[in-house]
Every structure is written in structure tokens, then in C-alpha cells.
Symmetry: C5
């Protein structure tokens, strides 16, 4: 989960924030690429040393022609287009996933507004209803998010976390379905709605309609999150992009070597022996970083620095639910004239 | 249907996942392109052999000039743009199709919430209602999905699958319409709603409104899926993209040949005789793979590795439907204080 | 209306479908471009013949420099970008138009669900209601679609087609408005709803709300289709794109000519005299085809191969409407236990 | 407001419509660019004449090097990308603005459906309600559209146009708010709804809900239009694009001059003295035209050829409103069997 | 907040507005880039002076080769693509944020329409309800907007601003939650709705449904704004773009230097010694300006020239709220025949 990084810069206008952005480590391109970077640099160095120290003149000539060929070829690979279009798709998908995350808030508000009862049984009734909603999200998150799965590896943990009673768990496990079952608590919730209507806890038919419509809306979002998990971006597309980037840097490993001055590079302005290929390394950071953007946000429910903080959501949702339908249920204040009353 | 491929990599940070992605076979670019790849490689080899072994000096010179012309020309074809824009369109369409798939869940929830009756006739009533919904999707899927059509080639199979009774089937077949008829069970469903309201199974007018609104929503999605099937991306666009890619590799067949050193390629760094045109083959994988992305997801209801698993959906939907409106209809648990109750 | 072309290929994996796509004629780029192609080829030939047969050495030299200039210039025109961005806009608009097409289905379902009455007057009442909906779409389609206009050139044809009575037509024509009047039958429909509520044919206030909400939704889509017709893509944009493509091929007419070997083209690899400029012709197909994509789908309600089949829709809508509110209104089946009942 | 220009071409297939599109004047790129074009051509001519007639050999040499530098530089400016991305943003915004225009139709339909009363007071009541809706749009349009502002420069004109009574106007002007007040008639409308419910003109609570929901929807669209007017595309973006285009043609003024044959241009094929830089002028039309697309549609509520015809909308809306809630309120026709009744 | 800048140009057609746009200062690229520009110019000058005055012939040669290498390399960095795709993402996000801003208008309208009571207690009741809505937005804005936070640094300021009573504030602070609490006044609002229904101030169940649905809608938008604040664009993406731009201009610092005539630049047309690198500076403005577009709108709730004017919204919302539910609650006008009544 990326915190707003701009906020950490107190004086916005002094220097470009984007300049400071270059020096952050957590969730940064440097941290993500440190291994790949070393591998590339190592390979480049080995090739360079072999060329300079091992090869004889004849071999150098052959090597020269290979390098020039590789350099020529690398300009034919449209890495920037491929990455541009691909990352566009992935980043849209990433944000759509964030928007699709089911929040219990709307259902909680409906329960607070429509399910009456000030006594203990009323309180328990409302609390049970919102608990089912939270249980449903938790069961869903367990199946799509590595971090939630790690925190709640078994249903025991779910029961111990207060999301489920033993009895409910038993009933849940007995349902004979090989498909995902995160929707079951929604049915339990609906059963409670029917019960509440019969008992008169819910006062009117439109209120029932409101609640059921919200359940459907909530369930839709659960299904959408599940759909994102079920159907990923076609493997072919990812392979195509990866092949392009790797091919490009394979070509660069040779094409960006410093060659002996008479190798035919002069026309391209390469007779400066920099020893360290500064610009090529920057280019590596840049293109591989772009690919990393895609890889990083492809599965935003994981444990990377930039992933959504699902466990925080689980806690926040449960707390808000209980507060809204129970603790704050009686928060009335004396009606007084406001400041602008006239 | 592409399973989440990232999940199979236990230790995410060790090596780039995208590197491992390169070595998967199922649904991969290699599997999809193996035939085209061999054809291209064969043609390249034949041309190369003819040049090296058959042609005389004069002919070689003519051939050289053709190759240089072809190479020059190939740089004028903006394959990457065309593919970039085209694949953007197709991939949006692909995901829109996924989102448009009609799930019975919302209607099922409405039936569970609003259609009363604990006795056998109540159970049968609800089961029949959700069966009609599932029947409607099945009839739709049969007309757009090859895999579902293969599993349910005739209405006999639909009847045997438990989606339809013989009587319903007869009535269905008698409807005099040359257009698609997957919407007919929706009408049967509406008739049941009217009946249930008269019989008092549905308690209130807002409940009826809820259910009918959901039928409309459900029907809209059916129509949208049908629309995707009916109106495909304009043929011209697909032809244009295909012509671009094929023209490019036709030019490459000649332009990427190794020519005799004095043919005029030196300025472009092509005097390395690699025998196997490694980079050109990688480029082939890359560009044709990009085109394959589009072809692969153009019709996502088929039987490819990456297509949506429609038959799985058919099973899951029916199971969930019956569970929700019948088996779980009486899942009440004793209301107890939860862990955080205070 | 492009039929699904992929379906005609029985064995998907054998050869790339996209290869076969190249050889289709109906709705193809070849059919669309046959005239422009011949004009371009003719002009190219004439220029070539003049150069080879008519001009003297001095004139040839001048001509050479013009050609080289034209060739140099043609590389400065970013046809692929312009077309890429432009076609993106047009193709989105095209699909948005498809999605905006008003289908009567939702209103028909509402009428079937909420307007009671089993006797003849009830049947006529419902049939009249859905007839008005179909009339409204027909009047709209007549004003935006060439093919529908051709089938129903006057209101006489509309009356004869059974969409309107003589009396209604007279009343319709008397409405004093110079603006589009396709919305009038919606008002007639609303009047019937009010009448039905008073007569008790519609049982409840929520049902009325449902129907009126659907009328509004339906009317919105009519307005959207009308808006697409009223406000087209700014002419300037279309002109800009067209100027780019025509300028490019004007430059190609000269820049792609075969010049005498010493004209200075050697550095660009053009000393192969192909007589027929194969690659340039392919490029013509390709770029002009791309432009044709836009032209083809700019007005999708016409009579081109790829346009929406509006007349088919008109027929289908009327048939479905009458089936749903009348013929199938009494389709009840005995409630029986289904296959999975247990 | 661009009329459908394709319709003016009677025989679609004979020649490409897009070819004819090149020769339209109204709303065309030529009309929009005539001033800029002349300025550019003039400057080019002056520079050319100075070079040919004024400069001596030494000065010509310096000038040559500047020109070659400018030409070289011009290829570094990615005008096409910048314009492509920028115009994409603007054209989306343009169409979103069209979609956001508030039409009174839905509210009018609701009034027609739900507000009863056949006598004069009923007629006036409904007419007043829809008048308020039209008044609200008019007040909004006055603040965002130059053409509407010109037609209704003061509230006197609004009163005289029949949208407002003197009394309402007085009350409106007395509201102490420095912010936009176009929403006030919506409140008046709501007050009438409350009154109508008390008086029994509106028969049911769901009908009230329907109407109020529509008011909110209507108001949302008003706010959206106001938001588009309030928050424009960031100035920086527009400046960046403009700088790019102007810099490019500044470079072209020099870089596209015909230089003396030995100036070093030969390698780029520029030793043809065309006197009139045909291709550069076409390029000017093309790039500046692209920029003009953005400028033209940036503020679509103005008086340009391509802008939305807001005054037409104002008239159409008022007419439709009165027709729907008054004149057509009693349009009933005898219910007869339709053509397909059987 | 960018005011409509086009409106300040009285005579639109005389000269291109976009030309005038170049000379605005407030919110301009010049103002935003003045520091970076001076840094770049200074560095360029220092390097140039060192080259011309300090280096000896041998060192100049080495320097030459480094510059040519840098120049060659700079053409390999696809700054325009990267920026194009990145700014597309950011600008969409920017506008989505504007659309997500929660306006109280819909809730205010619902309160005005559905909550009865003409006496003082009725007035206070409605005023309190809308005050809670405004309080909720204010609490949200305080957590996401620097400018609102600056105006209301503590809850004391919120109380003094009339948004909250002391009692409410105390209760608010006592809620034991470490998460954001801007939603609490929504619960208070819901409590009042329940109370109003019991007291008969709200007349019907559908009215309650309407209001609660709007609360949910309102709350959704609050959550969305909070989500935009919580989850920013992945840091990696921003770093990648920033690296690309900075690398490019690092390369330009050397690659765009004027070198001694025999350094090998002639082929690229660089033997004009301009002293001031006019075009490179324009390019700097252009590319860095593009990056600034992104930086400028990344956090649109700040205090930049182009940011949304949140404090203005806070004032406007409160004023509109009180006007709509109190001052204008009794704005009835005598019903009179309008101008077109006939």
C-alpha cells in the first residue's frame, strides 16, 4: 500500500517533489530491481572482460560484428510501446480491483437505519447481521489475498477472531460444494432479514427491499473481486511483453559494449570508453522498472510494499460495523440552533 | 481460462516472476505459435539455402538489392502501433465480455428473500424459479459458447441435465420465432412471480418490483453477451492489422537474410553471419505473439486454454441456486453475543 | 453487421484464423478499397511511364530530386499515430452507439409483469402498450438509419406495417413541433399507464413507479442515439486525419518510384527495380484500410456490410413484444420436482 | 454543432467520402486556420527572400548552419505524440460534456405520469413544475454558454421569454448568495411536489420518491456541467502542447528553407528547389489542425460552427415540456386489435 | 483551481487563443519550472565554459566523444511515450477525483422534500440534519486537503465554524477508533432519520428509503475520495518516469553542447554555434512541463494554482444546505398561466 509520498515533503515549491521521489527506497524501483540489476551488471562485466582480455584480434573482429548487429537490432524492438500499452491495461485493472473491493459500510448503514430494537436481543440481532457481512468479506479475502490467508490460515482462526461461531463453522463446512463458498453468510444474512420482517424488527416492505438490494450490490462486488482473481490477464500478453524486454537487454549486453575504435561504431558516436555503461544502466532501471510496475500491481492483494493493506481493512470494517449498529445507535444530541440560524 | 499464474511461484522476491513466466507452456505464446513459427523458419531456411547454394553471382546481386529494399521497407511498417491500438480495443472488449456474463446470483438472492413458503410446494416453487433463470443462461451460452454447445448439443441434453422438463421443452420449441429464444424462460419466471403475488407467496408490492427489476437487469446482461456475439470487431480492422503483420514478416524473410559482405549492409551492421537469425525469431515470437493475444481473446467463450470456463459456471450456478433457495433456506443459528460484545 | 467470422473456421488450431481472415471478401478491406486502389495504381503507373519514356536526362534529374524530397518528406508524416488515436475514438463511439440502441425488452417485461387482465381487452391493452414502445423506436430509427428509412419511407409504411393506426398517425402529424417527435408514443404509453392504474389493471404504486422508471430509461437511450446522430465527431479532426493520409500517399506516388541507379537512393537500398511496387501497395492497403475502418463505422446505421442490421431489430422487437405480453402470458407448467430435488 | 456531414454524400460507395470531406469549408480546418496559415506562409517567404537576395556568401553559410541545426532539431520534437495524447483527453472531455447536458425529459415524464388533475389548475400546476425545470437549465446555460448568454443577457430577457414570472425573479434576486444560484428553481419544484402530495395531486409515496430521485439526477447533471466549466484542463498541459507545436514550426521556418546545393542537405534529399514548400504547408495544416481540434472543442458551449446548439435545446426543451404535460395529456386512442392480433 | 482561461479572450477568432495561452503566468509552466530551468541553464553554462576555456586539446577530444555518445544515447530514451502514457493515467485519476467529491446537494434535496415541519423545531431538525452532512465532508476534507486542514487545523475550529456543537465534538472524540472517523456524523444523521420516522416528520417508508439510499451514495463518495488519498499511483511508476526525464536531460547537458567543428557532429547539422541553446531550452520547458502536469495534478486538494478550491466548496455547501432546507422551504408563488398557455 503506497502511502501518499508527496505529503512527506513539507515545502512543495522549493524543489521538484519528483526529484525527491528519486531517493525513496521503500516500494522503490531500486529495491524491486536490485537482484536483476546485479545480474545484468555482472553479465555485462564478464563479457567486457572476456573481450578485452581473452579474445585475439580475429575473434575480436567477429565479436565486433556480432555486437554491431545486436546494437542495430535493439533499435528494432519497440519496448516502449509494448510496455506503454501493457502497463495501461494493468494499471486500469489494478484500480478497478481497488474500486471493486466490497466494503460493508452500505449494508451496515442499512441495518442501522432499518432494523429496530433497543434491547439486548435487538443489539445482538444487528451485531449478528453485520458480523455475517464481515465474515463474507473475510472468507473472500482469504481466497484472494496472501496476507489475509497468512493471518487466517484456517477456519479456526476465523472462529477465534470472532467472525464465526463454532456452530456456524460446522454448518459452513458441511455444505457440499467444491466451488467457492464465501457467499454463504450472505444467505444467512438474508434469512435474518426475513426473520426480522416477520418479527416486526424491520418496519416496512421498502426497508426490506433496500437491504436486499444492498446485499446484492455487496455480493456483486465480492464476485467481481473473485472474477479478477479467477481470470487474469492472458498469459500470452505477459509473455510477449516479457520476451520483448528480455530480448532487448540481451541485445544490449552485446550492442552496448565498448568496441575497439575501428570497429565501425564511430558513425554512431560510440568511441568514448566509459568503462561503466552509465546510460545503459539507467535505461535498464527505466525499462525493467516499467515492467516491474506491471508485475508489482498485477496481484495487489499480496504483501508487497505497494499492495492494498487487506488486514487493516478487515479490522477497520469490523470495528466500524459494531460502532455503527450498536455503540452509536443511540447517539442523539439535543437539537440546538446552529451558528447561522436566523 | 487463465489461472492465476503468479500464485505458483512460492517466493516472489527471489527472482522476477516475469522471468519464470517465460517458461510456462499451457496457454503460452510458444504453444499458440508453434505452427506459424515452423513455417516461418522453414521459409527462411529455404530462401537462405537457395541464395547460398543455387544463385550465381549475377543473381545474387539482384537478390541482394531486393533484400536491401525489403529491409528498408520493413522499417516503414508501424507494426507496433497498429498492434498496440488494436490489442487495446480487443482486450477491453474481452474484459467487458467477462463483466457482461449474466450470473443468476442476484435473482436467486431475491427469490430467497422474497418468496415465502416452507412446505414442499414452496420449495418446488422457488426451485422452479431459479431453474428457469439457469435455463435462460444455459440457452444463451449454447448459442455463444463452443464448449457449452459441445456439452449440450441438443435440447435433449438440456432436458436430461435437469434444466428443463419435457413439457417445457415442447412448449419452447413451438414458439414461432426465427430469432434467438433464450429469453423465453424469463417470461415463464415472470409468470411465476405474478402467480406468487396472487397466491400471497410474495408478501409485498416492493418485493415484486425488486424481483422484476432484477429480471430486467439479468436480461440486459444476456442481451449484452448476445450483442458481443452478434456484432464483432469490424472485419476491416482485423484485416488491416493482419496485413500489417504478415507484410512485415514477408519483408523480413528477405530483409533479414545474411548477404555477401559487399552487398551494402555494412552501414547497418549486418556483416555477422549468425546462420540462425536469433533476434529475428525472437521478434517473430514477439510480434506474432502480440497478434495472437488478440486472436486468443477475440472469442473468449471457446475452448482455448485462456477462455472462460463456461461449463464450470453452468454447474456452479445451478448448485448455488438450489443451495440458496432451498438447502440453506432454514439456516438459522442461535443468536449469541459475539467476541467483541460489551 | 459483421457476423462472427471466426466461427466459420471449423478447426481453430490448425492454421492461424487470422491468416484465413485475409481471404474474405464481404465487408473486407479489398472490397472497400477497390476503387481507391485502382486510382493509386493508375497514377503510379502513369508517373512511372512518363519518367521512363518521356523525360530527357535533364528533366529526369529534376524529377529525381523531387522524388527524393518526397520520399524524405513522407517519413515525417506520422500517419500511424494519427490513425491510431483517431480510430480509437471512432471505434469507442461505434460500440457506445451499439450499447445505446434502445431495446424494448425491459419495458415489455414490465408490462408483462405488472399489467393484469386475461380477457381480450386486457390483451389488447398490453399489446397497445408495447406497440407504442416499438413505434417509438421505429420513428427514431427512421431518422437515424438509412436502411430503416428506406424500408419505411413515409408514415404510410409505418401504418401499414402495423405499428400505428390511422388515427394515431393523424394525431401525431398534427403536433406542432419542428423538432424530432419520436418521443410522442412514450407519452401515449404513459397515458395508458395512468389509465391502467385508475382502472386497477396495474395493482400497486411501486409497479407504476417501475414502469415509468423504465420509460425514462428507454427514452434516455433514444435520446442518446439521437445525440450521436446530431453531434458527430468534429469535422476538423476528420479533415486532419484525411489530409495526413492523402498527403502521405501523394508523397509516396513520387517518393516510391524507381529512379535511375545514380539518383542517390542507394544509401536507402532502392536500387532494385521491382516494376510493381509490391510493398507500397501493401502499405496502401494497410493505411487506407485503417482509414476505412473509421469511415466504415462512423455511421453504423447505414447499409454497409458491417453496419448494424436495424431492420432485423425492428422485426425481432415487435415479435418478442407480442410474444411476451400476449402469447406467453399464460405459459404455466405444472410444478414438478426437478432432477436434483432431494 | 457539426451536422452529420456524411449524409450529404448521396452515393456512398462511389468515391471515398473522406475524399469529399476534404473540400468542405464550414467548420473546416481551412476556415479555422486561415489566419495562422497566412502568417506562417508570410514569415517563410520573408526569410526565403532575405536568404536569396540579401545575404552575402559568408552570411549564407552561417544561415545554412542554423537551418540545418533547426531541421535536425525539429525531428526531436514529438509533436504527434503530444497532440495524440492531449487531443484524446480533450475529445473525451468534450463528449462527456455532451452526455452531461441536463435534459428535462425524465422529469417531464414523471410529472406527466404522477401529477394528476384535468382542470385548469391541474394544467397550470404541471406547467409551472416543468417551467421551473426549464428555468433551472436556462440559468445554468446562461452561466456556461456564450450563445445562451448572448440571447438572454439579463434576467429581464428570461422573464420576457416566459421562463420566469416577475415575482419569482424578485425572490430569486433577493437570495443572499455569491455562489451560482441555478439550483433555486429545483427547490421551488420540490416545494410544489410537497404541496401536490398534501393536496392529493400526487397519489402515492413511491410517486413522490420517483420525482425527487429524478430531481436529484437532474441536479447532478447541472452540477456536472458547472464542474466542467469551473475546472478546466490544467493550464500547464495546454501550454506544454502549444509550446511543442509552436517550437516545431519555428524550427520548420528555418529548417525547411531551400538552401544552396552545397549546404550539406543532399544526404537528406533536399536539393529540389520547390519555391513553394508544398509538403511543409500540408504538414502545417495537419499539425496545427490537430491542435485546432482541441481548441475548437475545448469550450463546446460557444458559438463556433462545431459547438453544441444550446439555444435550439432551450427552445426544444420548453416545447416538449408543455406538450408532454399538457397538450398530449389527454391523447387516448380507442384500443383496437393490431395487425398481428390473432 | 484553473479558471476557464479561454473566457478571458474577448475576440476568439482573431488570433489563436492557444497563442495567447503561451503568455499567462498564473498556474503556468514557466512559474512551475522557474527553479528547475535556472538549474539546468546554469549547469549547461558551466559545462560550456569549462569546455571552451579550461580544457586542452586532448581533453577536448575526450569530452567530444563523451558528448557525441550522450547525444546518441539521448535519442534512445522514449521520454515522450513514457510521459504520454503516464500523464494519461494521472489526468484520468485527477478528473475521477473531481467527480468523486461528495456534494451534499442530493441529501439536502431529500431532506427538503421529505422531512416535514414548519415550526421552529422542524426548522432546527432539518438544519441539524444537513449540518451533519456538511460536518462529514468537512472532516473528510480535513484529512485529505492541505488547504482545508490549514483553515481548520483543530476540532476547535470546526466547532467555532458552526459545523459541530461542543457536545457532539466531545462524543466524537470519545469514539475509540484509530481509523478515520469522518463517517460518524452519517450515523448521527441516520439516527435522526429513524427519530423523524417515529415522530411522523417523515411521512412514508419510501421516503425513508430514499434518504438512506442517498446517505449510502454520499458515504460511497467520501470513501472514494479517501481511497484516492490512501492508495496513490505506485511509487515505481513515478520513479520510472522521473528517471527517464532526468536521464534524458543529463544526456542533453552534454549531448547538446556546441563542439569544435571537427568533432564529428557535421553529419547531424550541429556546426552552428548558437551560444544559447534555444531549442534545447524549449525542449526542456516542454518535457519538464509535461512531467509537471503530472506532479501538479497528482494531489489536487492542495494549495497550488490549479488545485480544487476546497474551502470555497465548504462555504458554498453550508450556505446552499441552509437555504434549501430552511430559507427557501416556503417559497411558493401564486400559480399563474405562463406565456405559452393556450
Amino acid at each position: 500500500m503506497s502511502k501518499r509520498f508527496l505529503n512527506f515533503q513539507p515545502k512543495v515549491q522549493e524543489v521538484s517533489n519528483y526529484f525527491k521521489v528519486l531517493f525513496r527506497w521503500k516500494g522503490s524501483v531500486y529495491k524491486l530491481l536490485r537482484r536483476e540489476f546485479l545480474v545484468f551488471l555482472g553479465a555485462y562485466t564478464v563479457i567486457s572482460l572476456v573481450y578485452r582480455l581473452v579474445l585475439n584480434a580475429k575473434q575480436k573482429e567477429t565479436f565486433d560484428s556480432i555486437c554491431i548487429y545486436a546494437d542495430d537490432f535493439s533499435s528494432l524492438i519497440p519496448v516502449s510501446f509494448v510496455l506503454g500499452f501493457y502497463v495501461s491495461v494493468i494499471i486500469h485493472r489494478w484500480w478497478d480491483q481497488f474500486l471493486a473491493i466490497p466494503w460493508p459500510d452500505r449494508l451496515v448503514y442499512n441495518v442501522a437505519a432499518h432494523v429496530d430494537g433497543d434491547d439486548e436481543s435487538g443489539r445482538i440481532f444487528r451485531r449478528t447481521m453485520v458480523r455475517y457481512v464481515n465474515l463474507s468479506t473475510l472468507l473472500l479475502f482469504r481466497s484472494v489475498s496472501q496476507s489475509v490467508k497468512k493471518r487466517f490460515p484456517t477456519l479456526d482462526h476465523v472462529v477465534n477472531g470472532g467472525f464465526m461461531t463454532e456452530e456456524e463453522r460446522k454448518s459452513y463446512e458441511e455444505i457440499p460444494s467444491q466451488h467457492a463458498k464465501y457467499w454463504v453468510p450472505c444467505i444467512w444474512f438474508i434469512n435474518l432479514v426475513r426473520l426480522a420482517r416477520v418479527d416486526g424488527r424491520i418496519a416496512s416492505a421498502p426497508a426490506v427491499k433496500s437491504i436486499i438490494d444492498e446485499v446484492n450490490r455487496f455480493h456483486d462486488q465480492c464476485d467481481e473481486i473473485f472474477g479478477f482473481d479467477w481470470v487474469s490477464v492472458p498469459l500470452v500478453y505477459t509473455q510477449v511483453v516479457t520476451i520483448a524486454v528480455y530480448t532487448y537487454f540481451l541485445a544490449c549486453l552485446f550492442g552496448r559494449q565498448y568496441l575497439q575504435p575501428d570497429a565501425g561504431y564511430q558513425s554512431k558516436g560510440r568511441n568514448a570508453d566509459l568503462y561503466i555503461p552509465v546510460f545503459t544502466l539507467l535505461q535498464f532501471l527505466f525499462y525493467f522498472g516499467w515492467l516491474k510496475v506491471a508485475e508489482d500491481i498485477m496481484d495487489p492483494f499480496g504483501e508487497d510494499d505497494d499492495d492494498f493493506e487487506m488486514n487493516l481493512m478487515v479490522d477497520r470494517n469490523l470495528q466500524l460495523s459494531y460502532l455503527a449498529v450498536d455503540d452509536l445507535f443511540h447517539s442523539y444530541f439535543p437539537l440546538v440552533k446552529d451558528l447561522h440560524y436566523g
